[in-house]
Assembly symmetry: C2
Homo-oligomer: 497 residues x 2
């Protein structure tokens, strides 16, 4: 069938059973600024309503002002019953407790850390259990629609008037934005909150204008002193240093320390110690590692600068040296999706040779708890723990066998954060246990490394502490840990007394 | 309801009407290499079948070996009735004609340039009309599922064994891959074809491993001499130089030449001349432009190095200097999606102050033809023409009023590639016409610039050439131009004789 379109041309609207629509006229794209005056204005323009889900990233860490300010705006607008979908919380977010008490926040899907986790553990104040996911698990939950943000509020240290936004420029720089791309893609509305509007186009664009509805400039998005550390310190505790050294000995015995090795180690004391020893070992053997993944610190930048590490690939900067590094090495940045989306055909972590991770508890089934303390309180998130544990060939958990009067190696962890199915070795101040499933590793290190039975470590812990003290838990479920595939790993109960 | 999961924990499968699935066990991610020996092996592993759609990018330009080699493999596999979804073709793809004759390729959605377009124009050999889209229109068609590649074959100048791939490293480097992300996301299967396997992880990852099924290493993906120009030359034709100068005079009169101005100009002779004059004008007035978008050449890099241009944002490198530039300025790269996806909340081109574009014909309605020649043959693609025309505040088309015996400014273009609705000025060797809709521009430049009526330009063209010679066209439709919103702009008919 022929039709005359808006350009005056005769076109066929059906060819071989396929239908076509006639051109109806064209006009120029809009060139408007997306800047609005306040977070309140932006939320109002986004059509904020009772019951909505609002997401945030945690990359401003303990310096973040954006979550608290947004909650204040939600309160000002008289809106209640919000589901919070932050990637994590810090001590600075303690005011959230009042918004929970006021019924403004009634559900949370995201890590609840520190005081907020403590409050929820003791008071069970929410309508539904907190859902805890790994970084990769959260990314895929948003992608699959299991966790749909109505509005994504994305903190940026610089942005332009059209919404191109970065975490790498400006006084509140925190490193490449890596958690929010999936929110920006899937949320119905996207608000960039920044304290620095730069000339268009913003030089770096971790979030690009095509995804953004509104840009808000506020006085400060956070306290730079608390966003990134000026510098982190390696532990000087001899026991922790020794655990770090054992990790490197284990890697070495397992044949992992070689040219091109790919590793990850976090920013905790033991991990930094392990990094130091790994750097020394590479130096001694005149080897060059291929890549490091995960959070970036000056210790890894230092290995790179010394020529002991060919490449860095990071989602998060922990100190100012790391921020400087990514600003000048954009190729060293990844999103969480690239890093750990479980639904893809691969991740930038799949070839990890080894990763060193901490824990609050581990058990004789090699299950790891990173969420709750021995007293049952929910105080930490899962982070990338599950993601890299499943990716790394040698996943090492470092813990002391006990802390104060609490066994840390025990029969059953209080909460399973990462299942023993993907954990390979437990390195402690009392020695090393290897998951019996990993016969290949056991065979390789036998003779070089003393391997203990995990039950022996548990027994040492129980003997030294007088045995397990079970936390006093109620029957109400206050949270749950999900595996990155969306299934439920464990249930977290209210803490009584 | 309670259930014991694979970690031995009792979990609730229903809470507040929301259902949860129990953890069923975890295992390590695969660490396998994705490398297969040949394109044939990769296609076979992808389950290539009759009737499938196979996509390619054109960034190896006239040096490309990948499309021809893939067609050879398809033939070897005995598969027919393929729909080709390349972004563009070049003279090097002339062998495609034989695959069309053999019934191996029966439909094409993508630019058909040069000899293939000529063949199709004259012979109407396909089952359905060729569908031509702009860069942004194609991106959104793939995203919306209107054009679904079953298999995306993506040429990369370097890649690692897991599929992280770039166009910026290796002997066949062609610049950042910018067209293929949408194919990689939406195709059922993705094959990277490279001639250089690098250590994992590939330093640049325009396509990342999560999107890739197979990696094929072949001897050479293309002829470096023809992939990018060693260097492009500014025209020395005084008429073309004059058109370039008029463009800059027009911009100046329109108040566009100012600090922070955002512009785009292509790699054609007139565009390069205009760039030269623009650089000189900025110098004279001591101004600094904000950003250039679009294809990158040494002329733009030169403006940047001279401090007359703050930023570059490019999707495609035209010469080796441009490739070197993006390799060291990753922030200067965008995907076509960021550049021109019409379905988003903005594009990196929306704030363009001005763009200079060429044409095969323009008409008195300001419609532009970039696809067909005066004789009706389909020889070019739409490229980004529509996309930036709709984005730029002052869209300038540069043409001579006639070429040889053919009027170039005429009453009705042979094919509408970009509608007059979004075209602002026609700059010719005989003077400038401005779209009467743009009263704002006319008012600004009046008194400084002589404005001609577009009909006067047409009359000059008709007088000089003896008037319009209508091409001899048949009734069979061999192609159609779509606007970036998916509607049909125009129909292209078979050329007789």
């Amino acid at each position: 069938m022929k039709q005359i379109n808006a350009a005056g041309r005769s076109i066929e609207t059906m060819i071989d059973g396929r239908s076509f629509v006639a051109y109806a006229g064209g006009k120029k794209y809009g060139r408007n600024s997306k800047v609005v005056n306040t977070i309140t204005d932006a939320l109002r323009s986004c059509g904020l309503k009772h019951g909505m889900t609002i997401s945030f990233h945690h990359q401003l860490r303990n310096g973040d002002y954006v979550i608290n300010k947004t909650l204040e705006s939600i309160k000002d607008l008289g809106v209640k019953d919000i589901r919070l979908a932050q990637t994590a919380l810090f001590n600075v977010h303690e005011p959230l407790i009042d918004y929970i008490k006021d019924g403004i926040v009634t559900r949370i899907e995201g890590s609840v850390n520190g005081p907020v986790g403590d409050y929820i553990s003791k008071n069970n104040p929410l309508k539904a259990p907190v859902i805890l996911r790994s970084h990769g698990g959260r990314w895929s939950a948003v992608k699959r629609g299991e966790l749909h943000p109505d509005i994504a509020v994305i903190a940026a240290s610089s942005a332009d008037i059209r919404g191109n936004a970065t975490g790498m420029l400006g006084e509140s720089a925190f490193g490449n934005i890596a958690y929010s791309q999936v929110d920006a893609f899937h949320a119905d509305k996207v608000i960039i909150v920044t304290d620095t509007i730069v000339d268009y186009p913003c030089r770096y664009r971790e979030i690009y204008e095509g995804l953004v509805d509104y840009v808000v400039e506020i006085d400060r998005i956070g306290d730079p002193e608390k966003i990134v550390s000026g510098s982190l310190k390696i532990t000087d505790d001899p026991e922790k240093l020794d655990i770090g050294k054992q990790c490197v000995d284990l890697m070495d015995a397992a044949g992992i320390i070689k040219n091109g090795m790919i590793f990850q180690a976090g920013a905790g004391g033991i991990s930094l110690a392990a990094l130091k020893y790994l750097g020394e070992r590479l130096e001694e053997k005149d080897l060059v590692a291929g890549c490091s993944t995960g959070g970036l610190t000056e210790f890894i930048v230092d290995m790179y600068n010394k020529g002991r590490l060919k490449q860095i690939n990071t989602c998060q900067c922990f100190d100012t040296i790391a921020v400087d590094f990514v600003r000048n090495h954009l190729e060293a940045t990844s999103t969480i999706g690239e890093y750990s989306d479980p639904t893809m055909k691969g991740r930038n972590t799949d070839l990890l040779d080894t990763v060193i991770l901490g824990a609050t508890e581990v058990d004789t089934h090699f299950n790891v708890n990173v969420n709750t303390h021995s007293d049952g309180r929910l105080l930490h998130g899962i982070g990338g723990h599950q993601d890299v544990s499943a990716a790394s060939n040698l996943t090492i958990i470092t813990v002391p066998v006990y802390r104060k009067k609490n066994p840390i190696v025990l029969e059953d962890v209080t909460t399973i954060s990462t299942p023993g199915d993907v954990i390979d070795a437990i390195v402690t101040n009392e020695g090393i246990a290897i998951n019996p499933k990993r016969k290949d590793i056991i065979n390789k290190v036998k003779g070089t490394i003393d391997i203990l039975d995990i039950n022996d470590l548990k027994n040492i812990a129980y003997d030294a502490t007088g045995g397990l003290k079970k936390p006093t838990l109620g029957k109400d479920i206050i949270g749950m840990t999900k595996y990155f595939d969306g299934t439920v790993l464990d249930t977290i109960y209210q803490v009584l007394d």
